[in-house]
């Protein structure tokens, strides 16, 4: 079965650490890799690294690039690779998004996967105090 590949791209070591954390939870994630862009790295070098990463994880059914922050350099460089049905980008990567990409084993296309991961990222943000105290929340409402 061919899977949508994944590349996590971030400033500093965030991408590598997110990958390592997700791997601890999910297990083997050979279809996902990480590119950490140093604060002082040359744009051309970073671009080459992302290019290599996309090629490395591609199984021919598209690659989802997860970047740390919309408007940041990792996103801007990744955007040079945007191609319909081949490379798609979702910004604001968090651990649940990486786990979602890693653990969704259904045979789904790139754009559907991008939507799933985007939704998961948004749904995984909770104001925990309110979540764990529904009684209190009701009283305050």
């Amino acid at each position: 079965m061919k899977r949508v590949g994944g590349v996590i791209v971030s400033h500093g070591q965030v991408a590598n650490e997110l990958l390592a954390a997700a791997e601890t939870v999910v297990g083997d994630m050979s279809h996902i890799t990480a590119v950490s862009i140093g604060w002082h790295d040359d744009v051309e070098i970073a671009k080459d690294e992302i290019d290599r990463a996309i090629k490395k994880v591609s199984q021919g059914v598209g690659v989802l690039v997860l970047t740390d922050m919309f408007g940041g350099t990792p996103t801007n460089i990744s955007a040079m690779f945007l191609r319909e049905n081949e490379v798609e980008i979702v910004t604001g990567v968090n651990l649940p998004m990486v786990i979602k990409l890693a653990s969704t084993s259904d045979e789904i296309g790139l754009s559907e996967m991008a939507k799933l991961v985007e939704e998961q990222g948004k749904q995984s943000i909770h104001r925990t105090g309110a979540l764990l105290e529904p009684q209190k929340l009701k009283k305050d409402a």
């Binding site: 601890t24 939870v25 999910v26 297990g27 649940p96 786990i99 979602k100 653990s103 998961q120 995984s124 925990t128 979540l131 764990l132 529904p134």
Partner: protein
């Protein structure tokens, strides 16, 4: 359909690593395995780690298990046992 309840006994509760063990165990059965945290009324699919984590079940929490399918007896007993032994943790 098999139904029952268990209490979370390990200190860290149903955290990421424990949830991962539960998901791996559950994936080995064809039955549908549903977990319910009755206080906040949260329902989770035992085969999805992100779903299991939303239960946010800490030590002492009660969790209802509902299993339906061909191997429901074996699945129920395995899941119940994993909770009972604290996911192999303290």
């Amino acid at each position: 359909m098999r139904e029952g309840s268990v209490t979370v006994v390990n200190r860290l509760g149903l955290h990421a690593r424990a949830a991962a063990r539960l998901v791996r165990l559950s994936a080995g059965f064809t039955s549908r395995i549903i977990l319910i945290e009755p206080v906040r009324n949260v329902t989770a699919d035992s085969k999805s780690i992100l779903s299991v984590l939303t239960l946010s079940a800490s030590i002492g929490s009660l969790v209802l298990i509902k299993v339906e399918g061909e191997d429901e007896d074996r699945a129920f007993e395995a899941v119940e046992e994993l909770f009972r032994n604290g996911f192999g943790e303290q």
